[in-house]
């Protein structure tokens, strides 16, 4: 509730400040970066943008700054828990252990006995994406997953890790055999020229679909929330109020649901891509 009002308020500040400034300096109306109609979808203001005023290198690197702060936060939390670990855990260690164990149990239902090996990578991916998605709903926050570069880099990491898993677990020959559809008799040997390009295209299409799905969902969700904040502002605009009606509250709940599901889907699909590379499957 408070968060919604803060978000509304901060959009109000940024929306009205340029026009006040323009009136004060008599520059006329060329508008701020948030009031124009032709710069793409609406955005809520974020901390970096407010500090730098939308100029300079920090405003261009805002996604990277937020993504790095998320990872530094996780490194500090994990480092503290690991350095102070005890046999009888305290409340903080207990909470972290609960998260890790929940992730492990979930991955074990998909990967089976290999889950222990892949839980660190996939679990980190899940909590990293989840935190990045939630950042967009915090006042003055901005979720880095609305940039396709961030999601594409994670998808490329997953792609390289899956190929590495395949080559190291199956061997080079087994890997090419897997890509060729494991030909064992005459008919499947005849199908190799068809199946081999198809598998390669399939492998290359996976990171694209991972990156675009996360990017599109989170961007859509943030634009939706920003659009309803702007609608709430314009509903009270006739009396010049800087605080709008909180039209965005239902979409905050939708955003929480969507962020969790998208983080889960990214992790689950990465798990499945790794699983398809493991030798113990029969397809």
């Amino acid at each position: 509730m408070v968060a919604c009002y803060l978000q509304t308020l901060c959009l109000g500040v940024v929306k009205w400040a340029p026009s006040l400034l323009a009136v004060a300096t008599g520059e006329g109306e060329n508008g701020g970066e948030h009031s124009g109609g032709h710069e793409g979808p609406p955005h809520l203001p974020n901390l970096i943008g407010l500090i730098t005023g939308g100029h300079g290198w920090a405003a261009e690197w805002v996604n990277i700054i937020f993504a790095f702060s998320v990872s530094v936060f996780f490194i500090i939390v994990a480092g503290r828990v690991y350095a102070n670990r005890k046999l009888i855990p305290g409340p903080f260690q207990n909470a972290i252990e609960m998260l890790v164990e929940g992730m492990y149990n979930f991955l074990r239902s998909v990967l089976g006995k290999d889950a222990r090996k892949y839980t660190p990578f996939l679990g980190t991916l899940f909590f990293y994406i989840l935190t990045m998605n939630f950042l967009g709903m915090i006042p003055f926050g901005h979720s880095p997953s609305t940039s396709i570069n961030i999601t594409a880099s994670m998808a490329i990491c997953v792609f390289i890790y899956a190929q590495y898993t395949g080559i190291s677990r199956l061997g080079i020959v087994g890997y090419i055999d897997h890509l060729a559809g494991q030909p064992r008799n005459v008919i499947s040997w005849c199908l190799v020229p068809l199946l081999f390009p198809m598998h390669i295209i399939g492998e290359l299409a996976k990171p694209f679909s991972l990156a675009l799905r996360l990017f599109g969902n989170i961007t859509g969700e943030d634009v939706l929330i920003a659009a309803f904040v702007a609608l709430g502002l314009s509903a009270l605009g006739f009396i010049g109020s800087p605080i709008g009606l909180p039209f965005n509250i239902p979409f905050i709940f939708l955003g929480i649901l969507l962020s969790t599901i998208q983080a889960l889907v990214f992790t689950l699909l990465s798990t499945v891509y790794i699983l398809m590379m493991l030798p113990n499957e029969d397809h």
Binding site: H38, G40, P41, S109, V110, S209, L212, R213, F215, G216, N217, T219, G220, I261, L264, V265, L268, L269, V272
Partner: protein, 77 residues
């Protein structure tokens, strides 16, 4: 009709058509999963996992339309 008004007319319609297709697909997938869970409640964990994967793959098609929308939105002007 010039290029920009054609874009601003057709982009939302395109996203809407994609949403219709993926809505039909999601309805079928989730409905079948619910029926399967109702028939075999003990297998609900596995069915849910498979359902989420399928739903993500279906929904990605609408997201592609949305991404095209975001890409071409700057050209409307």
């Amino acid at each position: 009709m010039d290029f920009q008004s054609m874009l601003s007319l057709s982009l939302p319609i395109g996203v809407g058509i994609a949403a219709i297709g993926s809505g039909v697909g999601l309805g079928r997938a989730v409905g079948s999963a619910m029926e399967a869970i109702g028939r075999q409640p003990e297998a609900s964990g596995k069915i849910q996992t498979a359902m989420i994967i399928g739903a993500a793959l279906i929904e990605a098609l609408t997201i592609y339309a949305l991404v095209v929308f975001f890409i071409l939105q700057g050209k409307i002007g």
